[in-house]
């Protein structure tokens, strides 16, 4: 159906349309959830006249299309795939804007061949694009697993669980978050940060068109949350808040340089990098899609304008 641009899609942000909102998050860890939790705790959403609930859920796209979620922090390539498939989903703002690829092996693993028959966790199933990307990056980093018969493992739970298993010697190789680098006694065989959009704030195009002010307000409040998260001075506050919300904070993560790995993934304009998408899609061997076909960024611009944050190109 042709989109009729809503009248309030430009200019100063007016009264919110829908005020009770749900945002879906996939990973129950501090780094992913902190901006939203901060915005909730500091009342940034309330200031916008919004009541926000955070929901943990695997099927964010279905939730958005079915109308039980309004926003979701969804894996960017998945949103592109969903947009291309004709679901009406669009990226409305960046969320975690870059992707670290950190892979660690047990000290006794000297060369790729040592992994033959050993459990290896690359955060995805073999045969999936994500798995192949990591294999490709490992190869580029000089640790080529092609032709090595590893035992691929895919474990539920987040990286905290993986690290625990790695530390217990149950995994010979695993992907980890940068913040875990100090936690594990292992050898880093891959440690790069890619300017590939990791999670993006996603919504239905239709929803944004009908709720432009709500969307702009939601993004504005979230940007404020990210700003707090990225402020090193707020570390103690953030960790106390997240602990109270039931998230795990390990003692090592209390070290500022370990903690800093999390906020590092965010940009405080929630902007998007079209080039990063292009590269990501190419690496994932997904059909190329024009940036405009899966984004809907009018409300992001209004929020940025209203806050006066610097807009990256």
């Amino acid at each position: 159906a042709p989109q009729t641009p809503a009248p309030a899609a430009t200019g100063p942000i007016g009264a919110p349309e829908k005020t009770a909102l749900k945002i879906g998050m996939r990973l129950p860890n501090l780094d992913t959830n902190a901006p939203v939790e901060i915005a909730l705790d500091k009342g940034f959403y309330k200031e916008e006249g919004l009541t926000v609930e955070r929901v943990e859920v695997q099927s964010i796209r279905e939730g958005l299309v079915g109308g039980s979620l309004d926003f979701g922090a969804e894996a960017s390539p998945d949103v592109v795939a969903a947009a291309t498939a004709g679901t009406g989903l669009r990226i409305v703002a960046g969320y975690r804007n870059r992707e670290p690829f950190v892979v660690v092996v047990r000290p006794e693993i000297a060369k790729p061949q040592d992994l033959a028959g050993k459990p290896v966790l690359l955060g995805a199933n073999p045969g999936t694009i994500e798995y192949d990307v990591r294999m490709q990056l490992l190869k580029e980093a000089g640790f080529d697993l092609t032709g090595v018969a590893v035992k691929p493992v895919n474990l539920p739970g987040g990286s905290n669980a993986w690290v625990e298993q790695f530390k217990q010697g149950k995994l010979a190789m695993t992907v980890i978050f940068p913040r875990h680098k100090k936690l594990v006694q292992g050898r880093l065989v891959l440690d790069v940060m890619k300017e590939w959009p990791n999670d993006s704030l996603t919504a239905l195009q239709d929803f944004v068109d009908r709720n432009p002010n709500t969307t702009a307000r939601f993004i504005r409040a979230t940007i404020k949350g990210i700003k707090v998260f990225k402020d090193p001075a707020q570390q103690a506050y953030v960790q106390k808040l997240m602990r109270a919300k039931g998230f795990t904070v390990t003692p090592l993560e209390e070290e500022p340089e370990v903690y800093a790995n999390g906020p590092l993934l965010y940009d405080d304009d929630m902007g998007l990098n079209a080039k990063g998408f292009e590269e990501l899609l190419a690496v994932l061997k997904l059909p190329p899609a024009p940036f405009e076909s899966f984004t809907h960024l009018g409300q992001l611009t209004r929020a940025q304008d209203a806050l006066g944050v610097a807009k990256r190109p």
Partner: protein, 254 residues
């Protein structure tokens, strides 16, 4: 001696936990973060009680479980009655019924999210789906197992089809229906967890996944055990109901 028998289960559970504790805390047979000892499970449990999270989540799950279970009884018993008493219904509705029973519910979770979202509705639906089949199947077996001699007697004394059904078949099937309901209670507990697996931010199942994801196995096991305890209490209540509602029926366990 008789008292000893009465407490046998309690003693068994106590002995089991004592051995477990000894093996982990005492003999260090396994890493406690992988196999948490009962003391750690207890600590995790009391911790969750103290911070008030547990009662709130338990309340959410319990409400859904009751709703889904009652729905399963209201739907399952009539379905079983129909399947058991009519050849036609059993021929026509039987195949889809058994196929539905074989459906892997977990594979349809994305669709449930699409249609019902993350609130209570999909959870109630899954609890319903877990509980309804044992109830319906046992009811069906109960109806089919009615002594034909009783049906003949009822007909002789003037009972029509409906009266035979109301005065004989239903009563004769009652013990098995209650057995099915007991099984349904157990499966409803499983349904809580399966349902909350699809997402949300409330409930005991949600808590289990949260704690597992953080590799807090002590808490995850504490919550699982809590569910099992609740299930046993509810099953005991159904058994009690059976003893009251069907005192003529002697359970055939040696």
């Amino acid at each position: 001696m008789r008292d000893l028998k009465r407490w046998a289960v309690a003693l068994e559970v106590a002995a089991l936990f004592a051995l477990w504790e000894l093996a982990i805390s005492g003999l260090k047979l396994a890493n406690p973060s992988f196999v948490p000892p009962p003391s750690a499970i207890w600590t995790a449990f009391t911790g969750m009680l103290a911070d008030g999270s547990l009662p709130e989540h338990a309340w959410f799950s319990t409400q859904n479980a009751v709703a889904g279970f009652l729905l399963a009884v209201v739907v399952g018993v009539p379905c079983g009655l129909a399947l058991g008493s009519s050849r036609l219904v059993s021929d026509v509705a039987g195949p889809p019924f058994w196929t539905a029973y074989a459906m892997p519910r977990i594979a349809f979770q994305p669709l449930l999210v699409l249609w019902l979202g993350f609130g209570a509705a999909p959870k109630i639906l899954i609890i319903f789906l877990m509980a309804v089949f044992p109830i319906a199947i046992n009811t069906m077996d109960g109806i089919r197992g009615v002594d034909p001699s009783l049906v003949r007697a009822a007909r002789v004394y003037g009972a029509g089809r409906i009266q035979v059904f109301l005065k004989v078949q239903l009563w004769a099937a009652l013990p098995l229906i209650l057995t099915g309901i007991r099984m349904g209670v157990a499966r409803a507990m499983v349904g809580i967890v399966v349902g909350e697996f699809i997402g949300g931010s409330q409930g005991l199942g949600y808590l289990i996944f949260r704690r597992s994801a953080d590799f807090d196995l002590a808490s995850a096991l504490a919550l699982t055990l809590l569910l099992v305890v609740i299930a046993n209490v509810l099953m005991a209540l159904v058994s009690l109901a059976r003893r009251i509602a069907a005192p003529w029926y002697a359970e055939g366990v040696s």
